[in-house]
Point group: C2
Amino acid sequence: MLVTKHRITIRDVAKESGYSIATVSKALNGVDVVKPHTKQKILAAAERLHYVPNLMGKQLKNAQTKMIGFYTTSISGPYFSILVEAMAREAEKHGYGINVFISYDKKVVLNSILGSVVDGIIGFEDLLTPQDLDAVKREGIKAVFIDRDVASETIGSVVFDSYNKGRAATEQLLAMGHRRIGFIKGIDGVFDADGRKAGYQDALLAAGIPVQEELMLDGLFEEQAAFDSMVTFLKAPPPELPTAFLAGNDLSAIGSVKGILQMGYRVPEDFSVMGFDGIDLLEYFTPKLSTVRNPIKEQGILAVAHLLDLIDEQASGTSFVLEGELCIRESTSIRQEE
Amino acid sequence: MLVTKHRITIRDVAKESGYSIATVSKALNGVDVVKPHTKQKILAAAERLHYVPNLMGKQLKNAQTKMIGFYTTSISGPYFSILVEAMAREAEKHGYGINVFISYDKKVVLNSILGSVVDGIIGFEDLLTPQDLDAVKREGIKAVFIDRDVASETIGSVVFDSYNKGRAATEQLLAMGHRRIGFIKGIDGVFDADGRKAGYQDALLAAGIPVQEELMLDGLFEEQAAFDSMVTFLKAPPPELPTAFLAGNDLSAIGSVKGILQMGYRVPEDFSVMGFDGIDLLEYFTPKLSTVRNPIKEQGILAVAHLLDLIDEQASGTSFVLEGELCIRESTSIRQEE
DNA sequence: CTGAAAGCGCTTACAG
DNA sequence: CTGAAAGCGCTTACAG
C-alpha cells in the first residue's frame, strides 16, 4: 500500500498524468471539452493515486456546499428523530446533505451559519436573538424556521397551527362535558407553547369559563417536569379539582399521567389528559393518549423543499402552516357526573 | 441597515480600519503581538461591518475544522438520539462540534470523509467496504468505529461486549429453567448481531443443548420485522414450543412480545422474552422488558474522547469494550413446570 | 508592532 | 483541446 505523507491534490494528479491542473480539474468535473483520451488518462491517474478532492478548496471557489444546516441545542426526544430523518431523505433526493449541528454555544452556531459552511439553514429562532436574525437577513442567508411564523425575502417558515389546535383540543374537552380544565404549560416564548396556551385560554373564555392561573402547571415540554408539577399540584390541590388537563406536548402529557397515577388517581376516570404532537412513543404508552397529531414528517419535508427553492431563488420566503388532527383515544372520556 | 451585495471579508475590515489584512487577521485571532490600540480599532471596524470569518477560507489554510463527523444511514430509533446527544455534549466540552451526516449515498459520505470536511469521524463500518476502510487508513484519517472491534494507528473502536453478554443472557434464561430458547436474530454481518448470536449458541452448546435453526427467527433489529416473524412462527409452530426468547435488541424484543400477545399467548407466563440495549423506550412498554442494559451514553462519550486523542495524536487507535448489565424485570420468569 | 507576499486546493475566464 | 494565471478568504513565515 502506497504510503503518502501528504494528502493527494489535484497537482499530484496533474504530475502523474502529465497534464496541467486546469485540464485535470476539467476532466475530473466532467467539463465537456476535454479529449476523451486525455480524460481517460487523467481519470486513471487519479484512480491510481486514490485522489479525493478537498471539499474546502472546492467550496471556497464555488461558494456553495450542497449542505443544509440544521441547528439545535438538543436532538433528544422523539420529535427530532422523525424530523431530522425526514429532512435528510428529502434533501438527499435533491443532491443535498443535512448537517446537524448540536450546540449550546451560540457563537459556534452563528459562526458556522454565517461562515458559509452550508447553503442554507433550518432552525429554531429561540437559539437566535433578534439581532442574530438581522445578521442572517443582512447576509442574505437562506433560512427556514420551524418554530416561528416568519417570512421575508430570504426567510420562510413551516409551523403548526398551534393556536387553533389548542383551541380545538380545549373545545373537544368542553364538548365532553369538562368545565374545569387544567393546562400543562410548555416553554414561555416558544411559538407552539404560546399558541397552544392562547388557544386553550380563548376556548375557555368563549365558553364563559374564567381562566385560572392555579390550574396552569409548568411542564416545560418535558416528562419529568410535568410529572413533578402534577404531583406537587395534587398534593396541595385547590378546593375544586379539575376533571381534565390539556398538555403542551405529548411528553409532558405522559409525565402528567404518570404523576396522576402516582398519586393514586386514574386516567381517564378521574382526569382526562390530552397531549400534542402524536409522537411514535405513544404507541408504547398505556393508556393510549388522546392528542393532536401533527404532521412532523411533512414539516421536515416541506421545510427542506422550501429552503431549496429559496436557495435556487425559485421562491421568496413564505410562511406555511400545517394542520394537525385531533385523535381521541383512551386518556380522555366524557365527564362523569358526580 | 447597511445593505451589502457581497459578503464582508477580511479585506473589507482592513480597508475600514486602515490596517493590512495580515494585521487584521492577527487582531481577530488574538495573536498576541498586535498593539492594543490597533486591535481595538480593528475589532471596532469588524463589528461595524458585521464581519464574520468565512470558515472555508480559514479551514483551507489551517487544515482543521474543529468538527467531528458522525456518519449514518438513519438516525431513527431510540439508540441514536442518546448516542448523538452524548457525543455532542462531549465534543462541545473540548471545543468541537458534531456533524451528523445522514445519507444512503456512499459516495457523498466518502467524499466528505476524505474531503477534509471534518477532523475525524465516528462511524459504522457496514456503510464502508473494506476498500473504503483502506482509503480511510491510507489517508491517515482519524476514526472511531462503534460497531466493530478494530484498532490501528489512526483507527480505534468502542464496542459492547456482545458475545459475552449474549452468552450471559442465555445462561440467565437457562438458570431460570428454560431449555428450549429461541433467538430473534439481528442483521447478519453486524458486529453486535453476530456476537450476540454466537454467545447465545455457545451458551446452549455448553449446556448440552443443540442449537436449532427453526428456533431462530428474523428480527432485523426492528419491531415490525420481529412482530411478523413471531406471528408467522406461532401460526405454524414446531412440535415443541420454546419457553423463552432472546432478542438481538430491545426493538425486536418489543415486536416479539407484541406478536406473542397478538397470537393469544402471555408474557412471561407462556414465553419469557429478553432484549438487548436498555433503551429509554422500555420505560413506556408493558410488560417491563428484561434486557441487557448497555452504556450507550458512555459509548458516545468514550468514542469522542478517544477520537480527540487520536486527532491530537495523544494516543494510537485502541479498541475499547464496554460492559453491559443484565436487568431482569417482568418479561422473564422461572419456567413453569408442566 | 505592522505589512507584503506566498500559499492552502481548487475553478474558470482567457489566450493560444 | 490544453494551460498559465488569477483569485476564492484566509494565515503565517519573513522582512522591515
